[in-house]
Symmetry: C2
Subunit: 246 residues, 2 copies
């Protein structure tokens, strides 16, 4: 930015901007991609469903504000919120996106494993927080429908060339569970043998937990367990098939 502010500038001279954060937090549950929504307890859009979020405080970075609001508004465990991988999506700045005043919102995305339902009574401005299948969110408050659509597009693309999919899994997981993440987010079917080769051939994507195994569907051979590895990028990418949808 450049200084069109002269030496004796008064920060209160202009109509102020408010700066908020909004979070699109996803999980994979029962073969469906879910997003964490809250029901608004205040006007405007009182009673409507919205992405969790809120105002950035004067001495807080956007990322800290995002963690604070997430902890306040949803029942997510504090430990999880603290360690969560947050990623900036983009900033929404259209002048009329909030009827009250000029609000610029910095949107974040996060991926979490399947968790117990958040505590029923929300904190802060939220009535309650719920996991909602992304296909059944209906209309959201403000421009949150658009933010959610942008976030979905982004995470779909990120699965192709990053190791982010493990963020949807519990600390120890099977390759079948990891494959289900891809199939759910992309709404496709993947070839199991090829998927497993691809994942195992990428150094640092997953690490075997020696000796550990777990039954998945009640029947069948127990699957070996893996942990997320240190790798972050996926070279070469795991390309999403274009043809056959699920």
């Amino acid at each position: 930015m450049t200084g069109s502010i002269p030496a004796g500038y008064d920060p209160y001279a202009y109509e102020p901007f408010a700066v908020t954060v909004d979070l699109a937090v996803f999980t994979v549950r029962a073969g469906q991609l879910h997003v964490l929504l809250i029901r608004r307890a205040q006007e405007p859009h009182r009673g409507a469903w919205a992405l969790p979020g809120g105002f950035v405080l004067p001495r807080e970075s956007a990322e800290r504000a995002a963690r604070r609001e997430l902890a306040e508004e949803t029942g997510l465990p504090a430990r999880l919120v603290g360690e969560l991988h947050l990623e900036q999506l983009r900033t929404y700045s259209e002048p009329d996106r909030d009827p009250r005043m000029r609000v610029v919102s910095i949107a974040f995305t996060a991926l979490v494993p399947d968790l117990p339902e958040p505590s029923e009574q929300g904190g802060g401005d939220a009535d309650r927080a719920r996991w909602v299948p992304v296909e059944r969110t209906g209309e959201l408050a403000f421009d949150h429908g658009r933010i959610l659509a942008d976030a979905r597009t982004r995470i779909g693309a990120k699965l192709e060339y990053t190791c982010l999919a493990t963020a949807f899994c519990p600390p120890e997981f099977t390759l079948g569970e990891l494959q289900a993440v891809y199939e759910t987010v992309w709404d496709t079917v993947l070839d199991r043998p090829n998927f497993r080769r691809k994942v195992l051939a990428t150094p640092g994507f997953v690490e075997a937990v020696p000796g550990a195994a777990r039954l998945t569907g009640g029947r069948g051979k127990p699957a070996a367990l893996y942990r997320a590895g240190p790798a972050t990028a996926l070279h070469p990418p795991l390309l999403r098939p274009e043809g056959h949808r699920r």
Copy 2:
């Protein structure tokens, strides 16, 4: 965002935030990646080099502000600024990034063809605007060094899986020029026959200008001319070689 603002909220009650835009505008010139910088005419950081940008006005979106500031501060042709492909990079919101007050900055990137040097006397808050090789920018004002580094990383990655490289080229260009863009941004050498096959095999990446040809280095066979096509994504991607740097 959620409404912690009660009905009778006074927008002036809190310490206000200022919202700015910053632009990392790149071009390829003489085999080097250049970025557009301005010299600050005002405190703070008076006399230092910085990315162009400035305050978002009360009724303006961030993208509109970016175009306005770019036109005001640099001598870039109005037509070009209007049609420019701007892309949000990310938003920088650390509390102390500007010593004057709380400033949240939305950063954009843009790619332009090699242009004549901008008009010498800058407008607005800029002394003057100049194209500077990215390797020789030195220290920049505020956190602009970090913004510039993030922008470089992003455009390098974008060349792999989008058709964005044509934005660096004039309206009609040769495949040699397009290849030079990749080689400059990635600092690598690419195999010419393979590069041309790859580009031509991607539908909508480039379109031949029938019959047109141009001499490039003064010598050699005149090269056929191409225009940017309608495609925006590059499937499969054009992967950056990892080994041999230029």
